[in-house]
């Protein structure tokens, strides 16, 4: 949000005109806020409360929900499936966020002030405008054990065919790779905008100091970008906690041995595939707590690692 230069609030001396319609002003305020506020109440807050209530019940969708206290949470917190889902989801986040952002910064730096940038940007941005379903269908074929990638690797490296999506050790890595690939373009755009705000004089000064491109990258560019890196990592981390579409289409039934089961897949599976709506709600509350915890941790880390100019 670097571009939005926030102006200080004006002095409080109210102009005389304001008084004349102050009485009706409050109503205007509520009117303006109303559509979003009503939507928030109706489509988020009420379902949110209902999710909390459901989490303490047993309900298969037929008849009335039955109150069972903390049983669902007990069930889920000891469930190897939920554990698996949380670990998988965290692995996706921990692998895709740093690697994805790092690669994006590299490309953005390389693209900074280069001829033919629009052309290159189109190449990198193409996956961003492609729906996840289409991406999954394409990669599903490419990653087949008898597919192009496996064949290419076995011919160049002399290794046997690899069943990327069928091997429990590899399926999650394949999901990560596709995620990095598909989100690259958006991250590059953000960092390129950030780089444009870095004044060229800073880089020149570093060059005069005798810093090579590598040390310039790590000592100057990365720290200067750190506020954006922080913001992007929060956003990317939270959105990778919500990974669903890709694994749902790319890998059948959450993969071999549930190798690619994510938390949202777990919520969908319990609720919409197994009709265990109470347990599903409990799992979604756990997702919420996890999201809050991780965001809090990231903001705590921000104090240590992020350098704000001035």
């Amino acid at each position: 949000m670097s571009a939005a230069a926030i102006r200080p609030a004006p002095p409080t001396a109210a102009p005389p005109a304001r008084k004349s319609w102050r009485a009706g002003d409050r109503r205007w305020g509520m009117l303006f806020v109303a559509p979003q506020a009503i939507g928030m109440l109706l489509f988020t807050l009420i379902p949110f409360v209902f999710a909390f209530v459901l989490a303490f019940t047993e309900w298969n969708g037929f008849g009335l929900p039955r109150y069972i206290g903390f049983d669902n949470f007990r069930d889920q917190l000891t469930s190897p499936l939920l554990g698996r889902s949380i670990i998988n989801t965290l692995i996706i986040a921990v692998i895709t966020v740093p690697i994805g952002l790092f690669l994006a910064i590299l490309v953005a730096t390389a693209l900074n002030k280069i001829k033919g940038r629009p052309f290159y940007m189109v190449l990198f941005f193409t996956p961003v405008v492609t729906s996840t379903v289409a991406i999954a269908l394409i990669w599903q074929q490419i990653l087949r054990p008898d597919g192009v990638l496996s064949d290419f690797m076995s011919r160049t490296l002399g290794i046997p065919q690899i069943d990327w999506l069928g091997d429990p050790r590899l399926a999650l890595l394949a999901v990560c790779a596709v995620t990095i690939w598909s989100s690259m373009g958006l991250n590059i755009v953000i960092f390129m905008a950030g780089l444009q705000n870095v004044s060229p004089s800073v880089l020149e000064a570093a060059a005069i100091d005798g810093a090579g491109p590598v040390s310039r990258f790590f000592k100057v560019i990365l720290p200067l970008l750190s506020p954006i890196i922080f913001y992007q990592s929060v956003v990317a981390f939270i959105s990778s906690l919500q990974t669903f579409d890709l694994v749902f289409i790319l890998v059948k039934n959450a993969g071999p041995d549930n190798a690619t089961r994510t938390i949202v897949y777990h919520i969908y599976d319990l609720g919409f595939a197994k009709s265990q709506f109470g347990i599903s709600s409990a799992a979604s509350i756990i997702l919420l707590l996890l999201t809050l915890l991780i965001t809090a941790l990231q903001f705590a880390a921000q104090k240590r690692f992020v350098h704000y100019e001035g």
Binding site: N60, G61, F62, R144, P145, D146, G166, N253, A273
Partner: protein, 430 residues
């Protein structure tokens, strides 16, 4: 320059929003609303669903007053997830398919219309249907669902693959002579494996395990609906012997084959000897453009070489208890299931075998595969999924994935596995 939205454009958007939200409001086709409307649903790939075109056209023509809406879902498991959610939220279609591993559990939720006493005056009656697949459509003396059609898992075999493995006997001929023994079959799968091919491929579901056991003279459930396979020596031995073949790689589970080398692909590229599958395989063979005369079917082998009962996969049709227009729904229900309806749906390279009397000639009239009669024979002596198992949602699937699969993968032995199944069944049905 960046995209900017002018005020005029904004006004246009706002106008469009109002205009089009009325459009959106009309486009909703809430189920069961309005007279003379039938919403129906099933699963199937776009290709499979084409077999319903002829029937739907004919139905619309003879029932111009009924508005027919079709809501298909491609995958079997996703379809049932959706159906259950729809039933619980009161948004389910008027008439819908249910798989044989789910039907009994859906019936027990009191969301289906009892149809037994409503059939008089329609084109079908209970007695028209093959009795051995009717059982799980009943609950507490009432009938809730009828079989659309059935699919006995015949063994499709590839003569070219058998020849490549040096097998000279024709399985169908052996079966005709009652010499189609398990021993001969296992010899064939071993030879196929030795020739670098896959011996046999099965789908990991109830009819596979249960068929292994009953074809070898074993029992799975007793007459009271109690799981007894673990106490039946014939069943345990059968599972042990088959599991060995899976572990050695002679046999494989279709579910675990990698994308792109699936069971159909193996069959049409002559890399597979036997595939346990239904009549829909005709479509796969013809679609691939291979010489279809190379393929034929045979029943499952038994110890003494004679025909033994095996599982018959079936799908069921039911009517929503909350349907708005019972007459229209029943009209569709009976037209779909009667002999004429089944002929319309299943003729040509249809994907299943009729469940009703008087439509069998559609299986035979094609003269393909050469021993098409085998499908009818297997249907007549076979059995549908056991009601005990089908009464618990997902139980059949859980047995297959969590218990039987480890057995086939060599992570457990037959006795332990069947005991675990017995325990699970007891837990879930308690």
């Amino acid at each position: 320059m960046a995209i900017t939205i002018s005020r005029r454009q904004f006004g246009f958007f706002a106008g469009a929003a109002v205009a089009a939200s009325s459009l959106a409001a009309c486009s909703g086709s809430g189920s069961g609303s309005g007279k003379g409307k039938v919403v129906w649903s099933t699963w199937g790939s776009p290709e499979d669903l084409k077999s319903f075109d002829t029937f739907q056209e004919a139905f619309k023509k003879s029932n111009p007053d009924i508005d027919l809406v079709f809501q298909p879902t491609p995958s079997y498991s996703e379809y049932h997830s959706k159906l259950l959610t729809q039933l619980s939220s009161g948004t389910a279609p008027d008439v819908f398919y249910i798989g044989d591993d789910r039907v009994a559990s859906v019936i027990r939720n009191n969301v289906l219309m009892p149809i037994g006493d409503k059939l008089s005056g329609t084109s079908i009656s209970e007695g028209d249907f093959a009795a051995n697949v009717l059982d799980i459509g009943r609950w507490e003396g009432k009938l809730y669902a009828l079989p659309n059609d059935v699919n006995p898992d015949t063994l499709w075999y590839d003569k070219e693959a058998l020849k490549a493995a040096g097998i000279t006997d024709d399985p169908a001929q052996l079966a005709a002579d009652d010499k189609w023994t398990t021993e001969v079959f296992f010899e064939m799968t071993a030879k196929l494996k030795a020739a670098g091919l896959t011996g046999a491929v099965y789908w990991n579901y109830w009819a596979t395990h249960d068929g292994f056991m009953t074809a070898q003279g074993g029992k799975v459930y007793d007459d009271q609906g109690k799981y007894v396979a673990h106490q039946d020596q014939a069943s345990v031995t059968a599972m042990e012997e088959y599991a060995q073949r899976f572990q050695s790689g002679e046999m494989k589970l279709a579910d675990l084959l990698p994308e792109g080398a699936g069971s159909d692909t193996l069959l049409v590229t002559h890399k597979l000897g036997f595939l346990a599958a239904g009549r829909y395989t005709i479509g796969s063979i013809r679609g691939a453009g291979v010489d279809e005369a190379l393929y034929d079917i045979v029943r499952w082998p038994s110890i003494d070489g004679t025909a033994k009962p095996t599982g018959v996969a079936a799908s069921y049709l039911a009517v929503n208890a909350k349907t708005a227009d019972t007459d229209a729904a029943l009209k569709f229900f009976s037209s779909f299931l009667d002999a004429d309806g089944q002929k319309l749906r299943l003729s040509g390279a249809g994907n299943a075998v009729p469940s009703i009397k008087g439509a069998d000639d559609i299986v035979l009239s094609e003269n393909y595969p050469a021993h098409a009669q085998t499908m009818l024979d297997m249907r007549d002596i076979g059995y549908s999924n056991f009601a005990t198992e089908a009464a618990v949602p997902d139980l059949s699937n859980q047995i297959s994935v969590e218990l039987m699969q480890p057995l086939y993968e060599g992570k457990s032995d037959a006795k332990t596995t069947l005991e675990a199944v017995a325990k699970l069944v007891e837990e879930k049905t308690a």
